[in-house]
């Protein structure tokens, strides 16, 4: 294990639950980018988990199953290709956790606790967006590196209808929709050097169905079928 003793204690306290909100959020964000830390947390969770067996049962208030089933039905992937979808759902959850963590950290910052964090958080350089129809249908993963002014789009579960192509757009109130190119079945990078980093960070990213090879006139031919916004990847 390459993890420092301090980090191992932090992992242990994360699993035990004794960290305060900001420490917990910081660790939740770090584990996304530090596999050893993530592994350490899992290890501690596994060590402590048998305690749950000893917690006496309490009947939940009323039958919650119908409500849970309704939520699951609303969130079930309708399409096959489920391995990719499951993999992406996993990464969506990680990114959501990062986003929640970021918002908690931001909240703490607003109160003015951690100046060091503030400097670090003030200008995130990496972003991610999941483009999806709804929470259940993730289709593309977009990552943006502001330092490199580069965007990478990775198709996950989407396949364009026969004879059509998927095209990725950056959409901003002032810019309108600008094409970032056609998205095939493999990952592809696109340069963002033509765009202001503030616009890049705040823009909406969308995929439309276009004639094969892309929109003939540089404008989306129809409404977006998958959309998403960037979330900063918390250091």
């Amino acid at each position: 294990m390459t993890i420092s003793p301090d980090d191992d204690f932090a992992a242990a306290e994360y699993a035990l639950g004794t960290l305060d909100a900001s420490e917990r959020a910081t660790l939740a964000a770090r584990r996304l980018r530090e596999p050893e830390l993530d592994e350490a947390i899992r290890g501690w969770e596994a060590r402590l988990a048998p305690l749950a067996e000893a917690a006496p049962e309490i009947e939940p208030p009323g039958d919650l199953l119908p409500a849970i089933e309704a939520r699951i039905r609303g969130a079930s992937p309708e399409a096959p290709g489920s391995a990719a979808v499951v993999a992406l759902e996993r990464s969506i959850r990680r990114w959501r956790a990062a986003a929640i963590a970021a918002s908690i950290v931001a909240g703490v910052l607003a109160i003015g606790f951690i100046a060091r964090e503030a400097t670090r958080q003030s200008a995130p350089r990496e972003y991610v967006a999941i483009l999806q129809k709804d929470a259940a249908s993730p289709a593309f993963e977009v990552t943006v590196n502001l330092d490199k002014q580069e965007l990478t789009v990775r198709p996950v579960a989407a396949r364009a209808p026969p004879g059509k192509s998927y095209e990725l757009w950056i959409i901003d109130a002032k810019l309108g929709a600008r094409s970032l190119g056609v998205v095939g079945e493999t990952s592809r990078a696109a340069s963002l050097s033509a765009y202001d980093p503030v616009v890049v960070a705040d823009a909406t990213y969308a995929v439309t169905v276009e004639p094969r090879g892309g929109s003939p006139d540089g404008k989306p031919s129809g409404p977006p079928v998958f959309v998403g916004k960037l979330i900063p990847v918390v250091p």
């Binding site: 035990l16 639950g17 960290l19 988990a49 000893a54 199953l65």
Partner: protein, 194 residues
């Protein structure tokens, strides 16, 4: 079903270990009936975990729902070789509850004395009659801690108390609680590894 639930050789006192693992595997294949069965078998257990951390019943019920949605989504991640199905589910539910209790207010137990009366209802796993192999080993290691240090670990686990809340409760400085936690956790780790 060739995949066993729980740790190798686990006695699975209720006989439920294998069932839960089988259900999770079916759930990973999107079997709604298996999910309903899993809920019926485990909801009171998981609610027992989250409701002790989240003393407000409406919040606890909501977190329980979210936990089951996650269990449905993540069933494919469950690895029977790394622990029991129940432990896996409880970890999901508990993490969700901890995120919520920290988000809502840092010291919920002190602020919200409604609901469970903590003093009247401490969980003592050492008194548990039915023990999986994993719990039995953990109990042996917990027994090696001083009473007060063991109580701190158990309160943190079952009630989701933060260091600050533990400090208040035990009348010790936060720094002391932190040191104790670290020592106790290191001792548990070494004991479990031995």
């Amino acid at each position: 079903m060739t995949i066993r639930g729980g740790a190798p050789g686990e006695p699975a006192p209720t006989g439920a270990g294998d069932d839960l693992t089988g259900l999770l595997i079916r759930i990973a294949a999107r079997d709604a009936a298996a999910f309903a069965a899993l809920y019926k078998l485990t909801s009171a257990k998981l609610y027992g975990v989250v409701a002790r951390i989240l003393t407000r019943g409406d919040v606890a019920a909501d977190v329980l729902q979210e936990a089951y949605v996650r269990i449905w989504e993540k069933a494919g991640d469950f690895d029977p070789l790394k622990g029991s199905a129940l432990a896996w589910m409880a970890t999901i539910a508990r993490n969700r509850a901890l995120d919520e209790v920290r988000r809502v207010r840092p010291a919920s137990l002190e602020d919200q004395p409604e609901g469970f009366e903590p003093a009247a209802e401490e969980i003592d796993p050492l008194a548990a009659r039915e023990r999986s192999e994993g719990l039995a080993r953990l109990i042996d290691c917990l027994k090696a801690l001083d009473d007060e240090k063991r109580a701190i670990i158990l309160l943190a686990y079952y009630r989701g108390l933060s260091r600050e809340a533990l400090a208040k409760r035990f009348g010790r400085p936060v720094a002391t609680i932190k040191t104790w936690l670290h020592r106790s956790l290191a001792q548990l780790r070494d004991c479990l590894a031995s």
